[in-house]
């Protein structure tokens, strides 16, 4: 009889639990209507030392909860890459996808493992020169972003579409049975409303490619590309939890075929601890029971064998990338992208970019769906950072959730009092499209929805003549630039569809000294 409580099974259960924890926290990262959020999925990023290091290097600041990431560091120094093998939810997903393929896949050239170290060197060196690009490839940031912007909206869309069709067609009165199921799903795993994201397809396809690579080779991403894996690999080199192979080894090679990493378990002496995910598959499978994991004197670590020239090349690339990404007119006050409206509490743009790791949590939690991932609006440096697109959703006046979930403080956590004072832009009226201005028809929607206690939109009562020469009284809206905070609800709700008759631009945002319209009072 096969043993059920093998290390492999314990590991699988642990992985499953962490994946469930991740999904649970992810789903909880949503407003329930209160001012404070319960458990944001940020917790996973808090444990991510790569995010901590790059934030320290790039922004000279500590992430919100960087102490937690030290736990991961200590665990890795002691026990090796247990995080990769037992905890990381992206690793688990890669693991699962890899298992879909029955036939043993081809192994990629062994030396490919070095790529992730070059990526790590590139990212960290560019961090030293203040570029925060780590989030693009950090596995947790990547996972949360992909789930927020693509996977979860897709899941919701599919489930809703199914129940909506059943509800509408109602074959044999079956909706009576499906609706209660739908209600349960709505109160558990579905989002409050369907979200839509620009780039949902693009980011989703990238995510699919990453998972799909596991079909080429199990845990392709973890072995060859993951920069967090590389960092933990470096840290794991003198782990006290180590592996030994006894005399009984017949060099049958069984262990090599089940290795989750790229650790060459069959080569005994040249076993690479930095590539070992501590999955203990080699221990389980060994027919001679010759493999043993245990605590002992740290053995001399096998070299990473990266090649000095290659490391230098990666470092130089990291140096060069910084000015390359920054020679863009977007950094100039006069040629900023006017649509780049950042969430309230965002730091000044340069500081913001040094911290934002593009995890997309702010987009997930934004209750109006207005926060969207950028593409090139903030330059390549700012790809997938949050931008408010008021035609999709506005910034809710009394909501501060984006600042609550931001792991690096790129978006500050604001109190309600602070939030009410932060301008993220200014609204302007397009008099050529506005109903009272251009067409002498009554409309007050922008004023009605304006949330500032004293409304930033005010009316001028005017009498205009219609085509027949009759006098018509209309109220024409104006924006009070002192009071307007740029929340964008006027633009969201403006009944002039397509190009709105009132729109918000980042001009006047309080985080910037340059991007101003009104004469300063100081």
């Amino acid at each position: 009889m096969q043993k059920l409580l093998t290390t492999q099974n314990i590991r699988r259960i642990t992985q499953g639990l962490f994946l469930l924890l991740f999904l649970f926290l992810f789903i909880q990262t949503e407003s329930k209507g209160n001012d404070e959020l319960g458990y944001p999925v940020r917790l996973f990023l808090d444990f991510d030392p790569l995010i901590s290091i790059s934030t320290m290097l790039a922004a000279h600041a500590l992430p919100v909860a960087f102490l937690l990431s030290l736990i991961t560091v200590v665990a890795t120094v002691l026990f090796g890459r247990v995080f990769c093998g037992w905890v990381c939810p992206l690793g688990t997903l890669n693991n699962m996808v890899g298992s879909l393929r029955k036939r043993k896949p081809e192994s990629m050239p062994v030396k490919w493992y070095r790529w992730k170290y070059f990526i790590l060197v590139f990212l960290l060196v560019s961090s030293v020169f203040t570029l925060q690009f780590v989030g693009v490839m950090d596995p947790l940031s990547l996972l949360i972003r992909s789930f927020s912007v693509s996977v979860y909206p897709l899941f919701n869309y599919a489930v809703r579409a199914y129940f909506d069709v059943v509800y509408a067609v109602n074959p044999l009165g079956i909706a009576l049975l499906t609706e209660p199921v739908y209600d349960v799903l709505k109160s558990t795993v579905l989002s409050f409303g369907q979200s839509f994201y620009v780039q949902g397809v693009f980011i989703g396809l990238l995510f699919l490619v990453i998972l799909g690579l596991s079909l080429l080779e199990k845990r392709f991403w973890c072995k060859h590309l993951c920069p967090l894996g590389a960092l933990l690999g470096v840290l794991s080199r003198r782990a006290v939890l180590s592996r030994s192979v006894s005399e009984g080894c017949t060099s049958c090679g069984a262990c090599a075929s089940v290795c989750q990493g790229n650790a060459q378990p069959d080569s005994k002496e040249h076993w690479r601890i930095s590539e070992c995910l501590m999955c203990w598959n080699c221990d389980d499978i060994c027919p001679e029971n010759a493999v043993r994991f245990g605590f002992g004197k740290p053995r001399p670590a096998s070299p990473l064998d990266l090649g000095r020239r290659r490391v230098i090349a990666a470092a130089v690339a990291g140096v060069v990338a910084v000015p390359l990404l920054r020679v863009t007119p977007l950094a100039q006050a006069n040629s900023k992208n006017p649509a780049l409206i950042r969430p309230p509490g965002s730091l000044e743009e340069k500081e913001f970019l040094k911290r934002c790791v593009k995890c997309g949590e702010c987009m997930k939690v934004c209750i109006t769906n207005g926060l969207q991932p950028t593409f090139m609006e903030a330059g390549l440096e700012g790809i997938w950072s949050p931008v408010l697109v008021p035609r999709i959703g506005y910034c809710e006046y009394r909501c501060t959730l984006c600042g609550q979930v931001c792991p690096t403080g790129a978006i500050k956590r604001l109190t309600l009092e602070e939030k009410a004072k932060v301008k993220i832009g200014l609204a302007m009226i397009d008099k050529g499209r506005c109903l009272p201005w251009a067409h002498s028809r009554p409309c007050i929607v922008c004023e009605e929805v304006c949330p500032t206690p004293k409304k930033a939109i005010w009316f001028e009562d005017v009498k205009v003549k219609d085509r027949e020469g009759r006098t018509v009284a209309v109220m024409q809206p104006h924006v009070d630039l002192e009071l307007c905070i740029g929340c964008g609800i006027c633009e969201t709700k403006c009944p002039v569809l397509g190009r709105p008759a009132i729109y918000v631009m980042s001009l006047g945002e309080s985080r910037s000294r340059e991007n101003q319209l009104l004469m300063p009072e100081y």
Partner: protein, 298 residues
Amino acid sequence: MDRRKFLRSAALAGIGLSFPGGLKQAAEAAQAGPDLAVVQGPSAAAITRAAIEALGGMKKFVSRGDIVVVKPNIAWDRVPEQAGDTNPEVVAEVVRLCIEAGAKKVKVFDRPVNDPRRCYVQSGIAEAARDKGADVIFMDDRKFKDMEIKGIALKTWPLYTEVIEADTVINVPIAKHHGLAKLTMSMKNWMGVMGGSRRMIHQKLDESIVDLARAIRPKLTVLDAVRILTDNGPQGGDLDDVKRLDTVIAGTDQVAIDSYGATLFGMKGSDLGYVRIGAETGFGVMDLAKLNIRKMKV
């Protein structure tokens, strides 16, 4: 109220047939008690109770086993002190009285302008109404159906089927300032059961408000004037714009209620376009002198 005219328009609206009994009851209620009950006092729940009592009690409007819809104004992400939404204690008391009168189910909902989750929680209405036994639900997009309204401005519009299908509908608005309508009270509260792009109706707002109120026809309306919002409405936010009146006005004629409500702001019913149109088209009575108004303090 011209009964034949009403029946015809209700039948045209395709909804009157669903509660012919309710109509009869409402007509009886109007004959028996005062037209309007205006009650003032420090306890929002007590004045709500007293106002409904003065009209003949909730049993007049709610029969045993009824499915009741209580429609407050939950349009904004505001707290009760800001008077952007109906007072939660008023809503809760109406719910409690419905259940006491034997209602099988009391549903409370609105289609907010701000995020529904925040509006429901921050207004205090969700918790207060749930405590008294209501089903506080978020509106379901699939349950808006095109209805023939055949009004002055609105011909057809998607309305919320649960309102149309309910045995009893109770309107529980709050009295507030509004930029275009000047004031929003009971008739305008029905914008909350409109689907589709309701922002368009501001182009013919007064007419649309009358059309809507006519199509819905609640059996009872309880206007919350515990706190009224005198400026920067309908959303408010500045406590200086809030005036505490500790008053509730109950009645069955929405035109009459809104006409009376105008006086709370120092206006007359005739200052409000929709009240004027409502009276002119025979939907209700604007002239307060023609109404039997009972004022009380509790």
